[in-house]
Every structure is written in C-alpha cells, then in structure tokens.
C-alpha cells in the first residue's frame, strides 16, 4: 500500500499550498520533530518573543503603572479582534478574560439565574471534563438536574439524541462545537435552532473549534460561548480564555463573580456593584497582561491566513491522516475514531488502539512525532494548518507505521501519569 500515496505527492500538495509561506511565521527550531499537538498547545509565532520582550522592558519596565490606561482595554480589544477574525461575532460581544473553566462557570451561572423555573441542564456525556465538572457543581448548588446526553466516542453527539432530550424544562445546553476526543464537529446553527424551539439557551465550548473551523456565532444564532486561545490560536501556554455573549442578551444576564473589572465606572469605586453596560460586565479581576500580550502576534498570523483557508487545508490534512490510517495502520489494530465525513470533523483526528497510551509515548520518544493520548484508548493527531505541512503528516504516519510493524511500544510503560 505504501505506493498508493507516495511521499512526493505530499510534497506537491505543499508546493501548491496557499498557506505554505506562513510556516515561516512560527519558530520551528527542530525540523525533525513532527508536531501534531497544535490542538493542545499551538506553536510559538516568530514575532512573539520580541513582542513580549518589548512589552516587558518598555510597557512594564519603563512605563510602569502609566501603561494601565492602555492595558485596561485589552480584554475588550482582544475580544473584538477574536470576534472579527475567528468567531464571526460583532464588536462588543467578546472579551478575553480568566480561564475557560471560570468563563464557563460565569456564563452558565448567569444563564441559569435568568432561566425562570427551568430545572434541567443538558451536557454531552463525553464532553471535556472541566465542562461536566463545572456544571455538576452548579447543578448541585442549585438543586437542578444535570442530564448527560448519550454520545458516541467516535461520532460524537447525534442531533436526534439532543432533540429527544430538549423540552421546556431545559434551561441550558452545554456542548463543544468540536469534541476534544473524537474531533466530531456539531452543526451549531441546527443545535441553536433546536434549542430555541423549546426556549433553552446553548452555551458553546469552542476550545477545539476556534482557529480550526469557521465559527459563525452571529449567523448561527449562538447566544453564549467560551473557549481558549492556546490551541489553534497559538496564544501561548495557558493564555487567557474568551467569552461571548450575544449583544441582545447582555443586559439581561448578570454573572456571579462581581469583580471590579465588571463594574460601571470602575475607578469611582462606588459603594454598590453596578454591572458595566455591555459585555464588560462579564470581566472580573485584573487580567494577566504578559499572557494577554502574546495574543496579538498570534492573531496577526491568523488574520492573514483567514479561517476559511485554514479550514480548507485542515480538511485535507485530516483526509490524509484518515486515508493513510486505512491504508497502512488497519492491519496493526488501528481504527479511525473520528467521523469519516470531513464535514463532521474538526481539525484533529483520533485513532483507536488498545495500546494508545504506550503508542503515543513511543511515538514521541522513539519516532519524534508529538501527538497525544486521551482516555481510554485514543491517540489524537492534531495538525495545525498554519504550520503543519502535508509532508509532516505523511512522515508522521510513516513513522507510526514503522513503529507498528515493529510493535515498538511493547516495552514502553503503560501506567497513566499525572500528565499525559
């Protein structure tokens, strides 16, 4: 089968790739390492170190507290940049703030408080842990029912399962646009419409979607969303998260963590909390400026590429992983554990193998291919169209095949570690 898709064809795809030049906009020191974990932590944009150094030396070191009139707008300014370049949202609908978990808590709590007598929360049973945990806490504290929607580990949530669970007792539905494990991509407009029919609000987790697939928050009728900026957006490790609240909803919602950054006329320091008009009311405390700063050079590259082109290339990179898995890896016990239809798949592809944990370790240490493991038996491969070449995917799959032929993972430890 090796000759079915020879390496030179991957090289030709790279030669024709309209995004090929953008790879130089990232730091790629070690050309032999194949990095397929852009869905966990995106690469370092080449402009970022100097940008941060300038901020640290000038903005902090020289200007000191006099920089705050600029910095104080960053949560909002970066939110507007994200809205325009990655989220299909309008100005004044997105802020960058806190972590995804904290933002999920704020928006879920706000939505539940505004939900009248409705007492049910729906969540994908296979959704990312923090989403489920945050909702468990909120449901328990308020005596609400948290219903886990049955979800297929490979194919993700089916719309008919959601429809069957939607009734007029549902206050809130929390779903990932792209599933963290399978990469299954939901039809956001269809979900929003189905929820709207019964008067429920959908809160989207966009962590694995933003920067990988077009997210059209306004056009899809989305009301609430959160997401992180350190995966396909390349904002750096633990970069602050974002939240989106549709303009029409903002004045009706009040979030639970009433911090001074969400206060109207913050520096009047008035006696009573009075939420700021607009999306600023969803801010809380002083934001980590160094981590925020790294978003600007990252968004510059994203804006130049455009999400549509990123998606077009991402589909093809995913197709290549699926085709080479079928051709090369099936005999070795691998199976594609993501939707096979590229329209139903986000930026990453999961492979099933009973030894996935050992394999992901052997792949990194012996074959210099960084993907990652997800419970219970999934190997995730997350090419990032801004810097992953077709030939990188070809080589990674070739190295994986080589490992498989030698069952090279057999002596690798298989115990779970605290970080996998």
């Amino acid at each position: 089968m090796r000759d079915d898709f020879p390496r030179y064809l991957a090289k030709e795809l790279d030669a024709a790739d309209p995004l090929a030049d953008l790879r130089d906009r990232f730091v790629i020191g070690d050309d032999d390492l194949i990095y397929l974990d852009g869905n966990s932590l995106g690469r370092l944009p080449a402009a970022t170190p100097a940008h941060l150094d300038r901020l640290v030396r000038q903005g902090w070191g020289d200007q000191l507290v006099r920089s705050w009139p600029t910095w104080i707008e960053w949560g909002r300014r970066l939110g507007d940049r994200l809205a325009a370049h990655a989220l299909g949202a309008r100005p004044g609908e997105v802020v960058v703030s806190d972590s995804t978990s904290v933002n999920l808590y704020k928006l879920a709590a706000a939505a539940l408080d505004a939900a009248g007598g409705r007492r049910t929360i729906l969540v994908d049973a296979e959704d990312f842990p923090t989403d489920r945990y945050v909702l468990q806490g909120l449901a328990q504290a308020r005596g609400l029912t948290l219903r886990m929607l049955p979800s297929d580990l490979d194919e993700g949530l089916r719309l008919h399962e959601l429809r069957a669970a939607l009734d007029t007792d549902v206050a809130l539905v929390v779903l990932s646009a792209v599933s963290y494990r399978s990469g299954a991509l939901l039809d956001m407009a269809a979900v929003n419409a189905a929820a709207r029919e019964v008067g429920a609000v959908v809160l989207w987790d966009l962590c694995h979607a933003v920067g990988a697939v077009p997210v059209e928050l306004e056009a899809s009728g989305a009301e609430l969303a959160v997401g992180c900026t350190y995966k396909y957006l390349n904002g750096g490790p633990g970069a602050p998260a974002f939240l989106y609240v549709r303009r029409e909803l903002q004045s009706r919602l009040r979030q639970p963590i009433q911090g001074w950054f969400g206060q109207r006329d913050q520096f009047l320091m008035g006696a009573d909390y009075d939420p700021a008009p607009g999306v600023d009311r969803f801010l809380v405390g002083t934001p980590p400026i160094l981590s925020l700063a790294a978003l600007d050079p990252a968004l510059d590259v994203l804006a130049e590429a455009g999400v549509a082109r990123i998606r077009a290339k991402g589909r093809r990179l995913g197709e290549l992983i699926v085709a080479l898995t079928d051709a090369w890896l099936t005999p070795h016990g691998f199976r594609v554990a993501s939707p096979r239809d590229p329209d139903r798949r986000g930026g990453h592809v999961s492979l099933h193998h009973p030894e996935a944990l050992r394999i992901s370790r052997a792949l990194a240490t012996q074959a210099r291919v960084v993907g990652d493991y997800r419970t219970p038996d999934r190997l995730r491969l997350g090419p990032a169209p801004l810097y992953t070449r077709y030939v990188d995917v070809w080589d990674a799959m070739d190295r994986l095949r080589d490992l498989a032929e030698r069952r090279a993972w057999e002596h690798v430890p298989g115990e779970p570690s605290r970080v996998t």
Copy 2:
C-alpha cells in the same frame, strides 16, 4: 523647615541601608523618574526579561506541549515559595491561581457553604471595591446579610467596632490586612482570635500587605487569605493571584468553580468531580504560564532581602514621608491620612488634599513623581523598600512642596478618568 531634614541625611541613610544593593536587581532606566507606586505595580526585576525570553523560546517554542509536566506543578510550587518567603504559611497551604477577585469568590463561597446556619458576612465599608462587590453578589445570591463595618478613612477599622459586630450569626469576616487607601495595618492575630471566639471565619485580603509587612498566616491563626502578586512582589502587570487555606480546613471546604485543575487525578478525566486532596482543590482551569513565570525572578529578590528587612526599611521610608509632610506640606493644605503610628501602618502613606486628583496628575507630568490618586481626595505614596531610596522619598517630597508653593496643579484637568 527645609533645613530640619537636609537632603544629605537621606543620602546617609541610603549609604547605611542593608538593602541598598538590591536596587540594582531592578530595571531603572530613567533615574529622574521617582516611582512611588510600587503598591500598584512593582518594578521589573532585572532578571525577568531574560527569564521570560528563555521560557518563551525554549519552554514554549522548543519543548512545546512536553513542558506541561513541569508547568502543571507551578501553581503549587509558586504557592509554596510564597508561603515560605512572604506568608508565613506551611507547604501545601498556598496556590497561585486566577485573579484576587476570583480567589476571593472561591474562598468566600466555600466558607459560606460550610458555615451551617450562620447568615451574616462582615466587611470593612472602606475595603477595596472588588471585595465588597464580590461579597454583595454572594450575599444576594444566598439571601445573606452583608454588614459594612464602619471604618475611618484615615485610621482604618477599629478592633472594637469589629468586636461589637461579631456574634454567632457571623459566618465570614473579610478584611484587608493593609487598607488600600489609608495603609492602615490590622493586627491579624487579634482579629483572628476575636472571630474564633464566636466561631466566625476570617478571609484576609493581603494585596497591600504581602511583600511589604511580615504576614504570619500560621502563627496568627489565619484560616483563609487571598492576595495579588503584582504590587510589592513585583510579579508583573496582572500577575496571577494567590490563595491560602489553612491545612486543617482544606478537606472541609469545597469551592464552587469545579474545574479540572481541582480534580483528583486530573488526566483520568473521570465522570464525576472529585476534589483533589489538599490545597489543589482550589485550583480551577489552565493557568497563564507566561504570567506565572515572571514570579520566579521576583521571588528570588524577595527571598534574598527577607520580609523583615523590607519591613524595617519600609517603616523608615513611611516615617520620612510623614515627617516631611508635617514639616513642608501642612501649610499647603495637606494632611497625613494614614495612621501616624508606624506599627499601625503598612507600606504606603496617604495624604489628604481636596485637590488630590489634580495634584497626583501634576506630580506625574510636571514633577516626574509617580504616586496615585484614590477617591475621594487621597494621594497615595507607595515607596518599595527593595528599590526606593531614602533620597527618592526626600526628592519626591521636595518636588511636591515645590508644586504646592506654586499651586502648579491649578490648570490640570480635575475630571475623573476611567483609569486614574
């Protein structure tokens, strides 16, 4: 009066200052600018730019996701460093995480949930806005009573006022160890003892205390605390905050934001939230690593100086401000608006003047002295013993006197701005 304390005496104090050499451990590009706002944003440690650049290029750029096994411990590791060098707490009692506002919310909510039928929260009426706002939100959501303790704008909260308000209905008392406006320093051990007598829990806000005065959380019997790291700790703009939960309390408390970083065996990604043992249960989401990283070089300097020596110098710097205000500025309508007893004052000194806003602006733009304004009529001067010299204080007061003699602020705009 000018001759009562001539400038050469300030120079002599600097010559005898055991911390004098540490000034070189900070970036001080513009020697003519006198920076007395270390209580808002501490200066840039000289080692920080290279430290961050290495983290960015190597930790992120080269090692990528493979750095996470190191990074994932940082919230706890940095918490332990803070515990040892600045907080008088034991290992495993402090984590660095989120913002002060979010941490205050988490710990206040956890304490209220564990408070049985008690229905009253006490807070200093003059405490920092975010503290009051967060508590208003919690009280409102739970139908509790939030009582504002009367507090003197200059002298801070009096212990007898607190004692009078403490009864067995009090669940939680939130107080700043050092008041953000007046600089008034509370006797933490006395407050903790008084609260313990009626079975109430005290949650300390240490933002203006940590790194300025010795904080002995264990010895003073403190149970809960939060604080920021960007003032006297020099962690950088918006650097992540810390929280402290006394070891004996940890297993009894459960915080409301159930994120995956607070989960036992985080990467098993289990179905149900099961809080981690110990202080880790108060973590929430993925932390901003770039902002966390800046804490290490900052804590290196702090550890070398030692808080006791910082406090000793800080007292004397404060005494100099008080003495020169009395001598030079009283005729021009200034008044010391902080406790005059240095044992009852933290690291900064507030001056009262009806034109404080205009004066703080004139001071920065015309005299190159950066202090800050706080409502309604306070000019805050915050020397930082690690890098502020006695002669800096002398020169700043001299420049302020010069402005006052000319009433140089009369044509400066006096409208509040969004950032002051």
